[in-house]
Amino acid sequence: MEAKAVASTKLSPQTGESGTRRRRRGWVHSSKPWGAIALFIGPVMVYYGVFIIYPVLATFYYSLLNMTPTGGRIVTTFIGLGNFQRLLNDGIFIQAVKNTLRWGVVGPALEMLTATTLAVLVYFKVPLHRFYRTAWFTPVLVSGVIVGLVFRWVFNVDWGLLNVALRAIGLDRLALNWLGRRDTPLWCVIFVHYWATFGYSFILLLAGLTAIPEELIEAAYIDGASTPQTVMKVMLPMLRPTFVTVLILSFMGKMRTFNVVWALTGGGPMHSSETVATYVHTLAFGQQSLDLGYPSAIAVGWFAVVLVSVGLINRWLSRRVEQ
């Protein structure tokens, strides 16, 4: 349990509440500086309320409406749960959900596997570890738009890097039209997003490893454990809280990412790489946007699904810690 606390401090430092508790007794009798509290906390909460909380609540409300922009005004009709009914019969939506969930399983699995391995290696300071750390993190900083567009070229059928490389080693049969077929674009999206984000998971896991008290690792060595044993029996179990956090962050990232997909495939061709995020955008702001209520319903429904999934992942992994 101690170790759990230590490992998570790095990711989520305390907000000073422990300090608060110690001093609170002293403030009971003196009057609270309400003016200063309002001055400091007021503006940020009001701003946050107006630009974040209100829009979220409004989206929930919109999901019950039919909203058609007509001549500069938006005409709304209340239709109750009609949007959600329509959602269940929408083939493209179901395709988008399938795609996104497939991504949500494959993406984090790939990412956690490689990022954990690499983090352990860098933790043991393999040669060039500082260089790796900086290099692997670079794609994280680059806009998803740039990543998506560059990989559009990498996957180009005639002169893209991938196909040129495949032809160069004699695998002409594998030089496909990666983004133009129906079965490969989703995998391209998964790969590109992995490429762009694994460095982030890697850095977080490395931070988690660094937070493990060194005495514990030394103790394992003194007890005669080999390095692989130390990794498997001491370090990885201690890394678990960080691992769960990073897994959830990674999963949520896949559920909401828009820019990479939009720049790489735009959800096409024929919705073969459509995700929920791109579908909402296409419906709401695409060429033939007619109704803002229905995409709101998708966003709301999808948010519920993601929330439940995250809860399940969290519960499943926490329970396994207790065993």
Binding site: Q14, G19, P43, V44, F51, V145, V150, A207
Partner: protein, 295 residues
Amino acid sequence: MITAQRVGAKRRNTWAKWQRRIGLALLTIALLSFTLLVIVPFVWMVLMSVRTTGEILNDPYGLPRAVRWQNYVKLVTDPQVRFYRYFGNSVFVSFFALLLNTVLVTMGGYGFGRSRYHFRGRGALFTVLLLSLMLPGQAMYIAQFVMMSRYGLLNTRWSLVLLYAAEAVPVSTYLMATYFSQLPSELEDAARMDGCNDFGIFWRVMLPLSRPALATVILLNFMNFWNELMLALTMVTHPDLRTLPSAIMYFVGEHGSDYAMAAASLVVAMLPIVLLYLFLSERFIEGLTAGAIKG
């Protein structure tokens, strides 16, 4: 006997040492190839940007025969491309969003972080603030669009300023509050003795001390604002007001076949962040690590 044993041990040692070396060499080769996979697309993009599209199509792998700056020159000067405008728009939006966000979250972080301002329900309020980290942008941006259209802010850069500043509130406030909570309260007391009021303490004593955290927050936010696409596409459709990410999307759509030009535009769009990263890589990594909190 003893000597023989020693020699055997020594031989085993050197053998183990060699085994280790070979293992490390193989590992290094594997890791370097992996790293190559990460870097190659960038390098390729930069190489493409100093060639002509004809050269690229003839020989996509080839090194540039001569470095041609014409794509960059065209980007900067061609009034039809208007790339400088988009760059300017991105600077405008990032700058004002950072300004607004910084004012809000330094004060908010101070209020949430210091024990002096604790009140019943502050923790709950802070949780509400952090809760939105769970929310995907899709769950609010339709309503934000309606809101902006209602107040006549659609197709203005201010819509992006307002929304970016808001989206960055939770993480930034959290980081600032964490930092402020760690400053000793003796500083507060001493400043009060000298006759400072609450705002004076914040402004003259605490804020200057929070510079490291503030730098991290600004860097993190700048990166996010500079790279943002979804809101940029939604709120601003007027060609003159687009920020870089959305402009590039359109640009590649319209000049789809002029790959060299497109590559140059990507390089320029990426440049500010990459330059910052070269000088401040540790701070970037630290900021992004600290920003990852479970909602």
